[in-house]
């Protein structure tokens, strides 16, 4: 009887330990918060365009194409790091990339885009961070993929690395 009682906590201990090991081994970052907007339609918002200086309504930019939304700012170093990958993605047909310039200086952004290249079809200004809150953004850079039906399919927090670039590339191919 006593042996049986001791066996039970031991088994529980092994179970808990194996769960911890499993969580350690799988690829996951606990500080990353999953987006609540996946499989939902994109938020409706209005913003001024940095390029045309005109007002843009979000429904105008979604025209049956796959869309990549990238929140960026010139003051954000990781945004600069991922810029090359976004440039590469801009060569892709059937994909439109929109930049959302988060709490930034418009003049600096224009210079930045001239220096590094402009991968965006349009850049929308988010002066006070309200558009970012609408998209559930909590730290830039953040990148979203919206399918041709206007449904958000993917969100990545942090800079696009080679690995993430491949993932995004595959997702766009899949959506096509």
């Amino acid at each position: 009887m006593k042996k049986k009682i001791l066996l039970f906590p031991f088994l529980v201990f092994v179970l808990v330990l194996s769960i911890f090991f499993y969580l350690l081994l799988i690829e996951r970052n606990p500080s990353k918060i999953p987006s609540n907007l996946i499989n939902k339609s994109f938020p409706v918002f209005e913003a001024e365009s940095l390029i045309t200086n005109k007002k843009v309504v979000s429904s105008d930019i979604f025209e049956n194409k796959i869309i990549l939304i990238n929140f960026f700012a010139t003051w954000c170093k990781p945004c600069r790091d991922e810029h090359d990958f976004i440039m590469q993605l801009s060569n892709k047909k059937n994909l439109k990339i929109f930049g959302i310039n988060y709490k930034d200086n418009s003049k600096k952004t224009q210079v930045w885009l001239e220096d590094l290249g402009n991968p965006y079809s349009d850049v929308l200004i988010d002066k006070n961070g309200k558009i970012a809150i609408d998209w559930g953004v909590y730290g830039i850079p953040e990148t979203f993929i919206v399918n041709s039906k206007g449904i958000i399919k993917y969100r990545h927090t942090g800079p696009i690395t080679k690995k993430i670039y491949k993932k995004i590339y595959a997702l766009i191919e899949e959506a096509n």
Partner: protein, 136 residues
């Protein structure tokens, strides 16, 4: 003896500092003139997690995103939105994680019920041991 007194003073100082945690981050330019509305905003802010620092409410956090959210909450209150609508607006965008009090849902049931289950198991074990002890 002197050292003991000193130690006591130091310990009580930390004790007071630890329990008098009145810190909040609301800046003067954010505060609404209507006191009732301001109180509502403060109450909501205390229940909203700062997504950047994650273990602070936006009421206590100095992160820029927390400030944006505090301003947004005040704007929504001024627009006549109810507390429920404001909580929903934020949790629709950031998920239930943004609420410092997780709602009771099928997904969070274990979170709410397990403490009671463990409590009952604990009581059962204590009673059982007591019985055995008395018998012996």
């Amino acid at each position: 003896m002197k050292n003991k007194k000193k130690l006591l003073v130091i310990i009580s100082f930390f004790f007071v500092v630890f329990f008098l945690n009145f810190s909040f981050a609301v800046e003067p330019d954010e505060i609404l003139e209507n006191k009732k509305q301001e109180l509502r905003a403060r109450n909501i802010s205390k229940n909203i997690r700062c997504m950047v620092c994650q273990n602070q409410s936006i009421d206590e956090s100095n992160a820029p995103l927390a400030k944006d959210m505090r301003i947004l909450i005040r704007e929504k209150i001024q627009d006549g939105k109810s507390d429920k609508e404001i909580y929903k607006f934020l949790s629709d965008r950031y998920g239930d994680f943004i609420l410092l009090n997780p709602p009771i849902k099928l997904k969070t049931l274990a979170l709410w019920l397990l403490p009671f289950v463990f409590f009952l198991i604990g009581i059962y074990i204590i009673f059982n041991q007591n019985k055995k002890f008395k018998k012996s």
